[in-house]
Symmetry: C2
Subunit: 146 residues, 2 copies
């Protein structure tokens, strides 16, 4: 199947999207759930590394407020944006390499993950995260070499 | 942030998307990598349950051809489409509950996963998977009740 008209993003769009994820990771590292959630659209979907699915910025904020004061307290996240591409003029797909360092507790240690996010252009011309899904990078049972 | 103009999908679009995923799971259960990959756009992104990221329908096909003759040989997948919503008139977001039963080998057993997919409308008016990410459903270290 061929895609419909290929879309592309302006350099200003790409810069705005990178800035949004800098905001997200800064908010994480400050343990600021409200700032973290402000990057999401009101009806955003969020699937975490355990396959739990939440819908809604309010729920995303409440869940992260809980996490930031419990298992992820004092944690440091790093996001390396690996790919940004347009799916339509107003929808962007982003892939990230994430490294999360947790100082103590049941999640203590350094973990790597590969989240993807789908962003939609807002009425104000900015971008908001409409969907986010995160998957831990783990050793597969077999190596696929293709 | 408010989203730009809310989009919606026609019942014909929703039906076409459900049919596409029936095709995907039928292809999986037949071990037919070419049929499986035909649901994807040529430049599709695929993140598997181990956080491995591939781009391109050809690579998705080759990886699944390998998997269908090795660890997933004889496996049975079931997809329950839980949510379909429009991110723009030509982009749809889908969440699925997947159950994979593997008869033997290092992955033997029943596993549950929560893949999401982003679909784009094709030039022919159909839909193709532009991005797919899959995450195993596992027990989190803490329960978040929000």
């Amino acid at each position: 199947m061929q895609s419909a008209a290929p879309a592309s993003l302006s350099s200003a769009d790409e810069a705005a999207i990178r800035t949004l994820f800098e905001h997200v990771v800064t908010a994480w590292n400050a343990g600021d759930a409200a700032a973290f959630a402000s990057a999401f659209a009101p009806d955003a979907d969020f699937v975490n590394v355990y396959g739990m699915h939440e819908r809604g910025r309010d729920k995303i904020q409440a869940a992260h407020a809980f996490l930031f004061r419990s298992v992820f307290a004092g944690s440091t996240n790093r996001y390396d944006v690996r790919s940004i591409r347009a799916l339509s003029p107003d929808v962007a797909l982003v892939h990230i390499e994430a490294s999360l360092n947790v100082p103590a507790g049941p999640m203590a240690g350094l973990r790597h993950a590969l989240p993807s996010a789908v962003l939609t252009r807002t009425s104000g011309g900015g971008w908001a995260i409409a969907a986010f899904q995160n998957t831990f990078i783990t050793q597969p049972p077999v190596t696929v070499d293709v």
